[in-house]
């Protein structure tokens, strides 16, 4: 049975009230849109770290050996040249030989899904992963900046008896539309005639692809239990509900539709928006439910899924709802600062670039990125990063690399006020892992003074800083 094996989403810890953006920019005419809050990536997050979060929370304890292809979908990839998906796969310890970035389109993720299904059907791989992450690059002060949100979602597909939702039908349309665009040297989103973009672009192609999907699946709109779909904003979503066959399930769900919920609590997540809604839908789905996934961008992609019996046994340890509820407030000033000023220089004083060595980062990739540690087979001591000997027993050989579980407990911690960081104080935490390693690293997402010795913490991939124009990824800790 071809379908979805697992799905989950992630939004960053920090939220910004849209009213604060409206106040800062006097966006009074759009007051009806400036409700709720948007998710804001912290200064140490980017689309690679967001994608890693979504992937890890999707895979949980699943073996990654069967995942032969990983597709990263984003309109805002970190690297224009360099395989973002390869970094994500390494950080998630997925040994996929095929890693590919699909960028430049809001429907990168829904289109990537077709490639993922095809790869499985062609028996190129047992499973394929599509992970989408976006940080909408809207100009500060524009409505799109207020509506946009940072976040990610991942979908694991496979052909097995235990899929959560079976693929029933699909439809695709490709057609260039001048609604939003960004040339390679444009820093921000470009738009022009919004009414044209909405009606001639969005509404038209969403309807066209939906009609094809319903025909392919031989169902009527009222049979749809739920729909996950791209929507530029709340106004567009409401217009679609009035003018589209998708209006039937949307009207039934009302404000509890995942699109409305995410818009209110996180924002338009770009390429990750529709996949994230799919995660929310499946959390509350029942066997037999028919669910549509519709992506948009220079045409549209649509999929019809039937939820299987396996859904009853599926419960993510921490679902997207968990990440929506876990949050901390941010001022507009800091959110703006993260986005505009710290993008390339997170953490440190602009006058002092951190020392780095690219051979060193490569030599220690297993530890710093894949998060393995060295275990001494003579005495059992675990060291991170690797070292030429075991300091405890003196052995100089007989070492094994062990995968760290990304969990641990606080052995001690300090709040560093003298280190220049955008959100002082910088937390430095000594963590003992269940595998026996001790790692002293930075904390993230919240004030480090909230830690206590013995607290349970988890590791999260973050950008430590940028040096030699290279973002340095490794693992920080946060409270569970």
């Amino acid at each position: 049975m071809l379908g979805i094996v697992a799905v989950n989403g992630y939004v960053p810890y920090y939220r910004l009230a849209r009213a604060a953006i409206g106040d800062a920019w006097r966006l009074e005419q759009a007051h009806d849109m400036l409700i709720g809050e948007r998710a804001v990536a912290s200064f140490d997050e980017d689309t690679i770290t967001l994608a890693v979060e979504a992937t890890l929370h999707t895979l949980e304890d699943r073996a990654a050996e069967g995942i032969g292809a990983l597709f990263f979908a984003s309109t805002t990839p970190v690297f224009l040249e360099k395989n973002n998906a390869a970094v994500i796969a390494a950080a998630c310890d997925i040994p996929a030989p095929l890693t590919l970035d699909l960028t430049g389109s809001l429907r990168s993720a829904t289109s990537a899904l077709a490639l993922a299904f095809d790869a499985v059907l062609a028996e190129r791989t047992a499973q394929a992963l599509v992970v989408a992450a976006d940080m909408r690059p809207a100009e500060p002060g524009t409505l799109a900046d207020a509506i946009g949100g940072d976040g990610a979602a991942a979908i694991l597909v496979g052909d097995s008896d235990d899929v959560l939702a079976e693929l029933i039908a699909e439809a695709h349309i490709s057609a260039p539309v001048l609604d939003t665009w960004r040339r390679s040297h444009d820093r921000y989103l470009q738009t022009d005639d919004e009414a044209f973009a909405l009606q001639t672009g969005y509404i038209h192609f969403m309807n066209a692809v939906t009609e094809r999907l319903l025909t392919q699946g031989d169902i009527t709109p009222d049979q749809l239990a739920g729909v996950a779909l791209y929507a530029p904003d709340g106004r567009a979503l409401m217009r679609l509900a009035r003018q589209s066959p998708l209006g039937v399930p949307l009207a039934r769900m009302g404000m509890t539709s995942p699109a409305a919920l995410l818009l209110m609590q996180a924002g338009n997540l770009g390429a990750a928006f529709a996949p994230a809604q799919l995660a929310l839908l499946l959390e509350n789905a029942h066997p037999g439910d028919l669910i549509a996934l519709v992506g948009y961008g220079d045409g549209a992609d649509a999929y019809l899924f039937r939820v299987t019996e396996a859904i009853d046994a599926w419960k993510p340890r921490r679902s997207l709802r968990h990440w929506l509820e876990r949050k901390g407030d941010l001022t507009y000033t800091l959110a703006h600062h993260f986005r505009e000023n710290w993008r390339d220089k997170p953490l440190w004083s602009p006058t002092a670039e951190p020392w780095t060595s690219l051979p060193l980062l490569h030599r220690e990739q297993a530890e710093l990125l894949r998060f393995y540690a060295q275990q001494c087979t003579s005495c059992g001591a675990v060291w991170w990063p690797h070292r030429p000997n075991c300091y405890d027993c003196g052995a100089q050989s007989g070492f094994e690399m062990v995968r760290l579980s990304r969990r641990g407990t606080v052995a001690s911690f300090v709040a560093e006020w003298a280190v220049p960081t955008p959100m002082p104080p910088l937390g430095m935490v000594t963590v003992d892992t269940p595998e026996g390693a001790r790692i002293t690293t930075q904390s993230t997402d919240g004030d480090p003074r909230m830690f206590a010795i013995g607290d349970e913490v988890e590791f999260a991939l973050r950008v430590f800083h940028t040096a030699k124009n290279v973002p340095h990824y490794s693992w920080k800790v946060r409270k569970v």
């Binding site: 560093e416 006020w417 003298a418 104080p425 490794s474």
Partner: protein, 401 residues
């Protein structure tokens, strides 16, 4: 642990002269000028001409903190003394640099290689803003990921937190160390700060590496200190008053303490080993009774409390009692840091170990003025110099002949 100690050094080497600049922000003096000032004072104190110096050891941690190239190598000493041909070794070993320079110079004399040698500890950290010295190094040097962001005070704050958790040590206890050291330093003419402080001052000061605040931390400073060492049998012929080096014992452990699961983080193993070796050489069973005065490495207030324990003045966990009960004050049964310590005297890294020796030299020769403590009981003083993340330690014992 390898426990080998040797009598090869004991009482073979004398300290016949010492000098020390005022410590502080010495913007009017160059690295060379402050170094030469300490050497000249030491020569004058010993009553010898510079030509008697046969070799020298220079202790500097990182001259580039102050933007200086001189000081990276021994040629700097030949240069400021105007002595072509002088053999000079540069020593660098974290904050234990000064005492390690003393140790290596003493070895050369004990080995019979030279009769009279010079030790110079010199550091200039304040040709830049204080934040641009050690804090900047957290950014510009070191592993790009591992422990990135952990400052010097941060290393010790992690231990403070553990000690507080394990033994109930409080921020007030830490504050008492700073209050005592400022009281003492205010009475020493060469100390960086001449200001007494209260527990309240310490508790209300800005946080640096929480739970350590500004007054829990040593400052960054400029300064130099120098010692003239000679063969013990030669010392009475050159001067009337001198000290004998009883022991200079060193221990290093892994610098990766904060990545080692078997590390308690409530004590300094390097101090424990170095002290045990020094006590063994000197035949000391009860350090509290056998030592009259001590200069210990109080880079942070918690460090002094840990030192009380690791040097064997009190059992592990009772360091806070030692300060609470006033036992380390000028009137206590073992005065610790009568100079004001690193906290108040200042801490130009490579100079500190030699400066601590200078203070013990003053004390044992009865020259310590307002900070003088009684030294009649044993005529013996201890110097403890700790470096890095607590991974390098030298413990020295000096006594009157």
């Amino acid at each position: 642990m390898c426990a080998k100690t040797s009598d090869a050094l004991r009482d073979k080497v004398a300290i016949i002269g010492m000098g020390c600049t005022r410590f502080g922000v010495l913007q009017e003096k160059s690295f060379a000028e402050q170094g030469l000032e300490a050497v000249d004072e030491a020569l004058a104190d010993a009553g010898i001409e510079k030509e008697r110096i046969e070799a020298a050891w220079l202790g500097t941690f990182d001259p580039n903190i102050g933007g200086s190239f001189p000081g990276y190598a021994g040629d700097f000493v030949a240069d400021i003394l105007g002595m072509p041909g002088l053999p000079v070794t540069r020593v660098t070993n974290y904050c234990a640099t000064g005492m390690d320079a003393m140790r290596n110079a003493a070895f050369a004399v004990a080995a019979g290689m030279y009769d009279v040698v010079l030790v110079l500890g010199n550091e200039k950290m304040r040709d830049v803003a204080s934040r641009d010295s050690l804090i900047r190094q957290v950014v510009t040097t070191g592993h790009p990921i591992v422990q990135k962001g952990l400052t010097a005070p941060g290393l010790f704050a992690l231990m403070a937190r553990r000690h507080m958790e394990a033994f109930g040590t409080t921020r007030e206890d830490l504050a008492l160390v700073a209050v005592k050291n400022h009281y003492n330093g205010n009475r020493h003419p060469k100390a960086m700060f001449h200001k007494e402080i209260t527990v309240d001052d310490v508790l209300k000061a800005p946080m640096i590496s929480e739970p350590l605040g500004l007054y829990d931390c040593t400052p960054t400073s400029d300064g130099a200190a120098a010692a003239i060492l000679c063969r013990a049998d030669l010392a009475p012929k050159l001067t009337d008053e001198y000290l004998l080096i009883e022991a200079l014992e060193m221990a290093t452990i892994t610098g990766h303490r904060y990545g080692r699961r078997n590390e308690s983080l409530i004590g300094f193993e390097a101090t424990q080993i170095a002290a045990q070796r020094a006590y063994e050489v000197a035949g000391i069973r009860d350090p509290l009774a056998a030592i009259d005065v001590a200069e210990v490495h109080d880079c942070f207030t918690i460090t002094e409390i840990l030192n009380y324990e690791d040097l064997g003045f009190v059992p592990k966990g009772q360091g806070a009692h030692f300060i609470r009960e006033g036992r380390s004050s000028l009137e206590g049964d073992l005065p610790v840091n009568p100079s004001g310590g690193l906290k108040c005297f200042g801490h130009p890294i490579g100079a500190s170990g030699v400066r601590m020796t200078y203070v013990i030299y003053e004390q044992l020769l009865g020259r310590a003025g307002a900070t003088q403590v009684p030294t009649d009981h044993n005529g013996r003083g201890l110097v403890h110099n700790l470096g890095g993340p607590g991974s390098v330690c030298v413990v020295g014992l000096y006594h009157r002949p």
